[in-house]
């Protein structure tokens, strides 16, 4: 989101309360959405539920092209559209809803750092496994990512769009130095990241003690999606399962924020 737009949004946002008809857009859950998008979307949903802000989830095949930043998910609140977790957190703070106000400076620094850890390692690993992994390209990329990504489109366009997406992700991997990594190294990174999160969490219910923060929402979004999504190999989920406190953390958030609402 551009700075001018952001300043505008925060000014306007402060004036208006959270409306009842707020909507969150994401791709079709059944046959289109990919692991990484699903994780980001779930993180935003968890965050909004933790804040106690009601939002209606709407699935659209062209959600990616509707989003102002080209990224999923985005929310439509009143007459404003905001995409991705970071800007959404700022947006809700401007409206007076925040989860991290109780933290001191050092804790806030650590929270931001761990959020970047998740973006930098887990999200990148998800993208790598979806689009770049050569060894199982015949599996994940060919059998899952490409058909799902291009499912709403008809034949020539579907191939073009899927190739375009794959090419873009591969270029990104090369730019950040992940191009030369093997699948095993990527799994190793995921393990390292999970262990770091697990160490940080320890025996606390949430990362910063009793109250959930946006970090908890982000971690939950990614780990829960990895645990519940069926890929051709279960290796990714296995790496997460090796940290038992993260498993119970996911279960706790699911029970607290997702189950009673649906029942």
């Amino acid at each position: 989101m551009s700075l001018a737009a952001e300043a505008f949004v925060s000014q306007i946002a402060a004036a208006e309360p959270w409306p009842e008809n707020a909507t969150l857009y994401q791709p079709l859950t059944e046959d289109q959405i990919l692991l990484s998008d699903c994780a980001s979307s779930l993180a935003v949903q968890a965050y909004l539920r933790m804040c106690g802000l009601p939002v209606q989830v709407v699935c659209r095949a062209n959600a990616e092209y509707m989003s102002p930043s080209g990224k999923i998910p985005f929310i439509h609140v009143g007459n404003q559209v905001v995409s991705e977790l970071g800007p959404i957190v700022q947006f809700t703070r401007a409206k007076g809803h925040s989860l991290s106000d109780g933290l001191d400076d050092v804790q806030r620094a650590e929270m931001k750092a761990y959020m970047e850890l998740v973006n930098n390692m887990l999200l990148t690993a998800e993208l790598y496994i979806q689009w770049c992994d050569d060894a199982t390209a015949a599996e994940v990329c060919m059998l899952i990512s490409r058909p799902r990504y291009s499912s709403p489109y008809s034949w020539p366009l579907s191939n073009v769009l899927a190739y375009q997406k794959q090419w873009e992700v591969r270029r990104k991997m090369n730019a950040i130095g992940w191009g030369g990594k093997t699948l095993e190294q990527v799994y190793e990174d995921v393990s390292q990241c999970c262990q770091a999160l697990s160490q940080r969490l320890g025996t606390q219910p949430y990362f910063f003690n009793k109250q959930p923060t946006e970090l908890d929402a982000l971690v939950f979004g990614h780990l829960f999606t990895i645990l519940t999504t069926r890929l051709t190999s279960t290796e990714l989920a296995e790496r997460v399962k090796s940290c038992s406190n993260l498993l119970s953390f996911c279960k706790r958030i699911e029970q607290t924020y997702f189950e009673d609402k649906s029942s």
């Binding site: 551009s2 700075l3 001018a4 930043s69 080209g70 990224k71 400076d105 050092v106 806030r108 620094a109 650590e110 931001k112 750092a113 761990y114 970047e116 850890l117 973006n119 930098n120 390692m121 873009e168 270029r171 990104k172 730019a175 950040i176 130095g177 390292q192 990241c193 262990q195 770091a196 999160l197 160490q199 940080r200 320890g202």
Partner: protein, 373 residues
């Protein structure tokens, strides 16, 4: 001249006779050539001839230093700092030609198994496996924090660094392109800076997922805001400590140093990042401390070189004197040969006279001496 190596190679053990011979040889070579780039070759030669069965140290290729830094590149600084913190005996090659590196990019580590590593994290992992571990004392939670803050640096500060050094037009033209054009060898200096800029721009585009990225006020503000926030967070985390975890530096300190030192020491025309960093006293002290403690030689060199050009600030060229002398010599040679070829000066007459007179002198000189003897 600068010595293209530090630390490790000086600690190699040599047989006794070489304690006498090697310094003599080096002394002669440095006198003859006016530079001590032969130190490396001689040490290598000694190692081979003396038949010492010592594991050759890994070789680290890095960009040259300037502005009082051991290297101008963030990635090189990270690796150099980590190697110093961990006390790893690396053979350091500071070069200004990426094509001479085994991977074609810098930094690069050539291990003694002839493997080549180029990502800083891979190099650090390799050193850790060789038991040079600066993170040995960290608890598991501190290790996790390191990982998180390194991610924070890569996500928030790296884009701003790329922007400040490569995209901001005035900074790029006045400082970055100029530095690389002056330091790269002859044919490369014409096209490599431009190519490096295109690569960096491409990297920034992909990092931000923004295809239509253009240098502009809005982009700059956004990036500098992220970077400033990141520096604030680091400053809060560091507090009044000397290093991030306790009294000894770890890999996180190396990463933070590598990202902040270029901001602090470079002399960019648009220095907003530097201004912000200078307002955070503990981070500024953190960087200068590491420079003083772990890279004292580079600090001293910079003081020398910065105090020199202050007077004659125009075009700071390395080896200026020697180049001036050489060009004067070449000009003189050209003038003389022109004069000779066109016949302005004729040498024959002079030679004739010179041949006529000396015989008399020679007759008198040596003969008398022989007679005395």
């Amino acid at each position: 001249g600068k010595r293209p190596m530090t630390g490790a190679s000086e600690t190699w053990q040599l047989p006794v006779w070489e304690f006498v011979l090697v310094p003599l040889l080096l002394h002669r070579l440095t006198k003859l050539t006016g530079s001590d780039k032969y130190v490396d070759h001689v040490v290598q030669w000694c190692q081979v001839t003396s038949g010492l069965k010592m594991a050759a140290p890994d070789e680290l290729f890095c960009w040259e230093g300037d502005w009082g830094l051991p290297s101008v590149s963030t990635d090189c600084l990270v690796v150099l700092a980590y190697a110093q913190f961990a006390g790893a005996p690396l053979k350091l090659r500071k070069i200004s030609n990426p094509w001479r590196s085994p991977s074609g990019s810098l930094p690069a580590l050539r291990t003694n198994q002839k493997e080549t590593l180029s990502r800083p994290s891979d190099i650090i992992i390799h050193l850790r496996k060789q038991k040079y571990n600066a993170d040995y004392d960290l608890s598991a939670k501190e290790g996790a924090d390191s990982l998180a803050f390194i991610s924070l640096l890569e996500e928030k500060l790296t884009p701003a660094l790329i922007y400040a050094f490569w995209i901001e037009p005035k900074n790029y033209v006045d400082v970055t392109r100029r530095w690389y054009a002056e330091h790269l060898p002859f044919p490369l200096n014409f096209f490599l800076p431009g190519r490096m800029q295109r690569q960096q721009l491409e990297k920034l585009r992909l990092l931000r997922g923004d295809e239509s990225l253009e240098a502009g006020e809005e982009l700059e503000k956004e990036m500098y805001r992220d970077a400033a926030e990141c520096m604030n967070l680091l400053s809060q985390r560091l507090g009044s400590h000397k290093f991030f975890f306790g009294d000894s530096p770890s890999s996180l300190d190396a990463y933070v140093f590598g990202h902040l030192a270029p901001i602090l020491k470079s002399k960019l025309p648009n220095a907003k990042l530097q201004q912000h960093l200078k307002s955070l006293d503990n981070l500024t002290n953190f960087c200068t401390n590491i420079l003083l403690l772990y890279f004292p030689r580079d600090g001293r060199e910079s003081q020398k070189t910065t105090s020199q050009p202050e007077g004659a600030d125009f075009d700071h060229v390395p080896n200026k004197r020697r180049k001036q002398f050489l060009s004067a010599l070449v000009a003189l040679g050209a003038m003389l040969s022109y004069a000779l070829l066109t016949g302005m000066v004729s040498i024959q007459h002079v030679q004739h006279e010179a041949l006529e007179e000396p015989p008399d002198l020679q007759h008198i000189g040596p003969h008398e001496e022989e007679g005395d003897g």
